[in-house]
Symmetry: D2
Subunit: 340 residues, 4 copies
């Protein structure tokens, strides 16, 4: 198969499907919402590329705009080198980001899914028997429209683990600590990550950060019980957060955003979080692990958008929040890989 | 006092307080969200004007701009004329709308609250004993920051009624049928309206409509149980709605908007709704009452954003959804009043 | 095979599987809750009998007693006679009720599923391709432990319909109006019923009633928004309900029962509801359709436990709440069938 | 006044009022649910005794038996002795428990509220200006029916603290670690406790325990996101919990109990929890603090029913979960006090 074939093929799936390995409450079968372009969604495209008979994409009911990709720009189906270049035409900034994520997604799937045909229920040479677990409505819709097998994380038997989980992030530090929750799905996403043997992060170059809080400066997303929101704001202020506030629901809803779990989101900015070395609490400085440990114990907090601690290679039995690797699509068309 | 003074004054207290007579789950004491400028909120300003000792506004924690009121500029407590003009300075379009609402709010309070000192728990000459019931987080915060007595609609004893309720609307037809729900609070708002002896609508000139669906063309907001969303979409299509869809939560949340009640919102456009005369179902035509009656009975629908049927004067015992009067601030500075 | 064999057999698989055609939020894969013995659950046993290769029951994680079925005791696949007797041994009252339901379930499946091999995705002679939609956690678990195909009602595409739905009832009148909601799942159950071409009711003899409110005297279950509970209680009292009250959550939960939809349940007793003839409102008398129409329109009411109006044969396009037939297991071992 | 009078009196007002210092979503004004006799509720009786003009009890809408108090039997307002005996008549076991709790409640209020007239907004000699924060529907109703000032915990400004909080417990160990959550309100209760300068526990003698898990053997109540319930069950099993299971909703609701926060409750039994010394994880042994720390970090867990760590005297700025003192009504009519 040559690139042209690949091109045609990959053209058909750009937003058609996904592997986001997410889970949440069941949602309608047709894609209802505009794509937010998260890493998990992009990765789905890569997955469906490798595992689907592409002429059979079920794209009924898709509200997503059809991608008009140009064939010759697509990567080949043979195992990819760890860095591959994009075409030299000058794309718009938006296209650039989108393409960079696609390349990162391709490469992460090539590394973490393609070489492991023994992954759960994977038939030889066919991905149609892999089951995909979405973390939210978007990835669920893409799984379905791509004709992939859909399952919910709540159906995993007690003690069972997913083999691998691909998801995006809002910011990634050098130790692979993450900030997630820009889309208010952090609780479900952490549950899915912690239910996986290994978590692979896929993002674009803007998410690379020397310290959490540098690139994503809206604050750490924290999911809280609404009646405790004020109390949590007080605790955060005492801990040194400047300007923590409840995320508003406008334009679609007056008042606070309500999550799929009936909670509110507090966005709590802190000074950039240290990975190691001394932190001066008097100056509002925190290390990632210390802050996460303090935040999760605040009564009223349901879950936090810091993904920290150990990764799936260190914790063999699941329960890890941090990725084992992060794939970033770069501006120059290359893919940068951070490994734990 | 001349008109100019009134103008200045009404501009100055825009977000200081409110009477929105709304209700909902309890929310933190400080205003958390930017004002959406709904009719109820604007009316609150007028209420606090008449009933509060203005130097004692409790504005602790307010995120809203502080009103710098000068006492001698206040309008008199005597009933205002039914039409009063604004200053002739040329305001921006946004200011124009804001001012028009304020005038409508003033006039509605003048007509429906000031003349009735016997309204529940109202002391002679003092509004401080009136209790205000918010319909959501915004109006709750304004009630508190204005130092008004706050109470929740769920604390009304069975069979008890509010004396009067002021609230806005997204569209108003000549028979005072309303579309509400642009802020996703329609369920709480209908409960409060139906718990009142009379409901007074306050809005700006853009909401006046010959037929519902003319001005507000995003569709009738319908609050649905998430697992029934697809089924309701199917029913709506069968009933002639074109392009009904689930309201998305972006930018704050991926997936659907979740209401304070854990539901989703479907926005269902229909052809402009007739108030009387023949309607041809084959052509997707509906009369307001017929459509509302059909929508509310769809299994999976929790509540609808059509406020219809009888008003509080016709139903003496509460339960009415339609206002007895609607006050519109007009572009030319006048206030137009529609009476049932 | 004689009747005695049938008896033994039907007793043996009581909780092995189900077809309850219900739906709700996803629930864990293993059966978590004791069986409440509803009609839908019992019917599931009958379904799995006809459609499953019994030696392949996937009963992993089942908390229910394992059925030790002996193949030669199975009833024949040919349509059963409309009345068949149980053994003459003297069962306990509980057994009697359980057995009567099983017989009714068998007969309903025989009449409404077995003869229709063209029902959605039903392969010839094999039920393994039928997809089953649960209305709650219980039926979901039974579907899974029986190895039946599980799907959620929210995944039905807009406009699509289930072919048939089997479910129980708390009371059934001669016109096949129902009271449902004793298990607080009425909203989901009505959505599934209304999403089906025909709804078949399965119950035991205690549910047969000359008029709703005669046998089930705890009141009509009404699902309400918590903040409107007081208001709804007031409306119900005005409508003639005596002693309507909020259902408590004890022993497992202090305060009110919370439904899977975040609502409360009000149980509202009324005088037995007339099917036809005059009703004197002054005396608190109501006809079923009139009462249901009034209840569903009360602001604050999400859904009501009256299943009324037209049935699936009358409404060809779905949306019906009433069953087309009701099957009652009788005390004497016979099955009584009520047809619309 | 002698002890006998005290006895009669304390018996007579059992459900008249409360101080439970709880908070939660707003609930209707009339008592809707039978009393579960928790420690907070009982304490309320003691509070209303000291602070209310008893002839003015507002008991409108009360479903609780009316207290027929005889004024001359009231105990004096002077501080009571730290141990007082009950009458020598022989009560039933239920009465005994109820009376023992009342005595404990009296004594705790005597020690922690009566001597502190400067507590928030407390007028000299009058408790009518104290504001009470309920933790759930029951205590809210009692606050209202007693005519006490009601407020919700979510209205506390960020950083503000309650002066004192009284609440019950399901089990208390010698270090004042608690198990709470038998009534499924643990999340709200922990938020209120952590929002208080000091938390005072009130219970009967059955709750005294050498090690958590000895007396209360149903398991530690854990509030979980429903879609993570299976995953949490798996983690708990790995941590050594034997037979953790989801709490069922019967008889009022099929399926799982749903909390006021939309979550489920998992009851997780562990071996009795050590307060100090070595614990052997291989044998499933845990110390309280270690277990609590591990449980709260499990993704999918919203809050846990272990109240542990430091108390309000140790943490001057709020955030404490453990009580500073626990008052137990004993079988012999005495009150036992455990101090931190």
């Amino acid at each position: 198969m040559n690139k042209h074939h690949l091109l045609l093929r990959s053209a058909s799936f750009s937003t058609a499907s996904l592997l986001n390995i997410r889970s949440g409450p069941p949602h309608p079968a047709r894609p209802l919402f505009p794509s937010s372009g998260a890493g998990g969604t992009t990765t789905a495209a890569a997955v469906s590329h490798f595992f689907l008979p592409h002429q059979h994409h079920r794209q009924h009911h898709s509200l997503f705009p059809s991608p008009r990709l140009k064939p010759h720009r697509y990567p080949p189906l043979t195992p990819l080198s760890s860095t591959f270049k994009m075409s030299t035409t000058t794309p718009s900034p938006v296209d650039l980001i989108e393409q960079s994520k696609r390349l990162a997604a391709f490469q992460s799937v090539t590394a973490h899914l393609v070489p492991f045909p023994h992954y759960t229920r994977v038939g030889i040479g066919s991905g149609s028997t892999i089951t995909f677990y979405p973390t939210g409505a978007q990835s669920e819709q893409l799984i379905e429209s791509a004709g992939l097998n859909l399952q919910y994380i709540n159906k995993l038997h007690p003690g069972a683990l997913l083999d691998v989980c691909f998801d995006g992030a809002d910011e990634v530090d050098p130790a692979l600590n993450l900030i997630k929750g820009g889309g208010a799905c952090l609780w479900q996403e952490k549950i899915v990550a912690a239910s996986s043997r290994k978590f692979v992060c896929v993002a674009d170059f803007r998410k690379i950060s020397p310290a959490l809080g540098t690139q994503w400066n809206k604050g750490i997303p924290i999911e809280v019980l609404p009646l405790a929101a004020n109390r949590v704001l007080g605790e955060l202020e005492r801990m040194g957060s400047l300007g923590a506030k409840i995320r508003p629901g406008l334009p679609g809803k007056a008042g606070a955003i309500v999550t799929d779990n009936g909670m509110w989101i507090v966005d709590a900015p802190f000074k950039p979080l240290k990975v190691e070395g001394q932190s001066d609490r008097e100056k509002g400085e925190w290390q990632v692990d210390e802050l996460a440990d303090a935040l999760i114990k605040i009564p009223g907090v349901a879950e936090i958008g810091l993904f920290y601690g150990k990764n799936g290679r260190e914790l063999q039995e699941g329960g890890a929040q941090k990725p084992v690797e992060a794939y970033f699509g770069m501006e120059d068309g290359s893919v940068k890989v951070l490994s734990a």
